[in-house]
């Protein structure tokens, strides 16, 4: 693909986003929709900038909570994923339990965390952790379990230890799966945090949105949504950039090979 085509594709993506907001704005104006029902994007952005000083600590709170939960989820997810990916027995034994666990609606566990730890940051961290670790487990386990035996044989024939094989074959082989999971998980982690904040916290973007909606301050509710969407996109992009550096071999990118 040429640079020109790549730039043009990015421009289309930007045009789609701008067009979406313009259409929204135009429809609200044309149909005379009250800002109590659906505020126009211009009102939302105006509210966002006007209230930014008040919103800022809540944004930081949500970001921090999410990152702690996410990092915890990644660590636990990689550990469990590696365990059940390496061993067929562990895979067959643990999978039903994990599926059952991940099928539980996470809204239902928030009250339990509140019961154990009181309301505040801790339940939010835990909720984002439990909601985001499952995709990591599944992907890491799948990546390891599907490693081509021929690749492992190359090292086995040299008398490599299990640790050598995991480090030199398993780990790099898993990277594309791992990054795919990270991109899903980071957005899940935000969902978990905000979920817990709306139910049981007096801080964070989720809490701001909850109190704004009870005051009928609908533009502020939407401002909160925009903030969350922006944070999600920012982290997704960050991981995409790292992914491209680390796993370019998997998509056979020429710019990776040239680097």
């Amino acid at each position: 693909m040429t640079d020109f085509a790549a730039v043009r594709r990015k421009l289309w993506a930007v045009a789609l986003i701008v067009g979406f907001f313009l259409l929204w704005e135009a429809l609200c104006l044309a149909l005379d929709v009250s800002d109590l029902v659906l505020p126009r994007p211009s009102q939302v952005f105006a509210t966002l900038f006007a209230r930014l000083p008040i919103l800022w600590p809540h944004i930081l709170q949500t970001l921090m909570t999410t990152m702690i939960g996410f990092v915890g989820g990644v660590v636990i997810g990689v550990a469990i994923g590696a365990l059940i990916g390496v061993s067929k027995v562990a895979y067959d034994t643990a999978y039903p339990l994990l599926i059952g666990f991940s099928s539980i609606p996470k809204v239902a566990v928030v009250p339990i965390f509140v019961l154990w730890f009181g309301s505040g940051t801790v339940p939010a961290v835990l909720t984002s952790l439990v909601i985001c670790f499952f995709p990591i487990v599944v992907n890491v386990a799948t990546g390891l379990a599907t490693t081509e035996p021929e690749l492992e044989d190359v090292l086995k024939a040299l008398g490599a230890s299990k640790a050598d094989i995991l480090w030199n074959v398993g780990l790099p082989r898993v990277m594309p799966f791992f990054f795919a999971a990270l991109k899903v998980s980071i957005t899940y982690a935000f969902v978990g945090t905000v979920l817990a904040e709306t139910v049981a916290s007096n801080r964070g973007v989720g809490n701001v949105m909850m109190s704004a909606s009870s005051n009928f301050d609908v533009p502020l509710v939407f401002a909160g949504l925009f903030v969350l969407a922006g944070l999600g996109v920012a982290l997704y992009v960050a991981f995409s950039l790292i992914e491209r550096r680390v796993t370019g071999w998997a998509s056979r990118r020429d710019d990776f090979a040239a680097a």
Partner: protein, 279 residues
């Protein structure tokens, strides 16, 4: 003259590989299939043995037994005097498929054995890194892959990957070389060129080589002994020394003696496939 040892009668020479009644079966019960009938084979240190036979006859199974990747269902496999092959001897192995690790450049793929095998592994990161890299580049030059060190495997053709594969099998100067049709995907001329490279290497360092091949000419050119295997489940039908003087040349493969050997082995394989000679 380098050969002259006689099959399964090695006298005082040191044994590199010994299969005694080694058999391999896969599966259990009704779905049990035999891959290799009980086989006895002794290979002396420094010998160059070629295994030929029809497809699926268990040639690769013998290689896997020798490398320790596979355990025999019955009998025993002793390599370098021990049962764990890789611990007993420095092994270089080239598989039928190039099996390059896709996330490493060609250079780093080739250097992989140095990262794993003693005594190199301790020195991989620190002091001898440049020396190792030079060695990798020298090998790449030898097989005609100069300038491809920084490419990724997917940027190479199948034949080029196979040549890189051969470099990886050789870089740690193995005492035992296990080659599974390493030249299968190459054109005739490259193949003959690489026969020369391999022969040179063998003459210089005298590793024990076990080569699996379909190509009788290749076997005759390279080996000091040729074993013909029967159809699956395989066993060794014929075991003959090859006494042509070294270094051998491609021109020699048109010698009447060479052609006669070829013909005789070919007849054994046709017989082994259970088919009558056609035309």
């Amino acid at each position: 003259m380098t050969s002259g040892t006689y099959p399964n009668d090695l006298g005082a020479e040191r044994v590199a590989i010994a299969l005694s009644g080694a058999a391999v079966t896969f599966g259990r019960g009704a779905r049990k299939t035999a891959a290799l009938s009980p086989t006895t084979l002794k290979i002396a240190e420094g010998e160059f043995v070629a295994l030929v036979g029809p497809s699926g006859c268990g040639k690769s199974t013998i290689l896997k037994l020798a490398s320790g990747l596979l355990q025999p269902s019955e009998g025993a496999v002793i390599v370098g005097g021990r049962e764990t092959a890789a611990k007993a001897m420095r092994i270089g192995m080239a598989f039928q498929n190039p099996t390059m690790l896709p996330w490493l450049t060609v250079e780093r793929n080739i250097m992989l054995p140095l990262k794993i095998v003693r005594p190199f592994r301790g020195e991989y990161r620190a002091k001898r890194r440049t020396e190792f890299r030079d060695r990798a580049h020298a090998l790449l030059d030898q097989v005609g892959l100069k300038g491809f060190a920084d490419k990724y495997p997917w940027q190479l053709s199948g034949g080029m990957q196979q040549r890189a594969n051969l470099c990886r099998a050789l870089i740690h100067e193995p005492r035992l070389l296990l080659l599974d049709e390493p030249f299968g995907a190459l054109d005739q001329f490259t193949r003959e060129e690489l026969w020369g490279v391999l022969q040179e290497l063998w003459l210089a360092r005298k590793p024990t080589v076990l080569l699996v091949t379909h190509d009788l000419k290749e076997a005759g050119y390279l080996a000091s002994r040729i074993c013909v295997m029967s159809a699956r489940p395989g066993r060794i039908l014929d075991d003959s020394p090859v006494d042509f003087p070294r270094p051998r040349t491609v021109a020699m493969t048109f010698d009447p003696d060479f052609v006669a050997l070829n013909q005789r082995l070919r007849a054994r394989i046709v017989e082994a496939r259970g088919g009558a000679e056609q035309s």
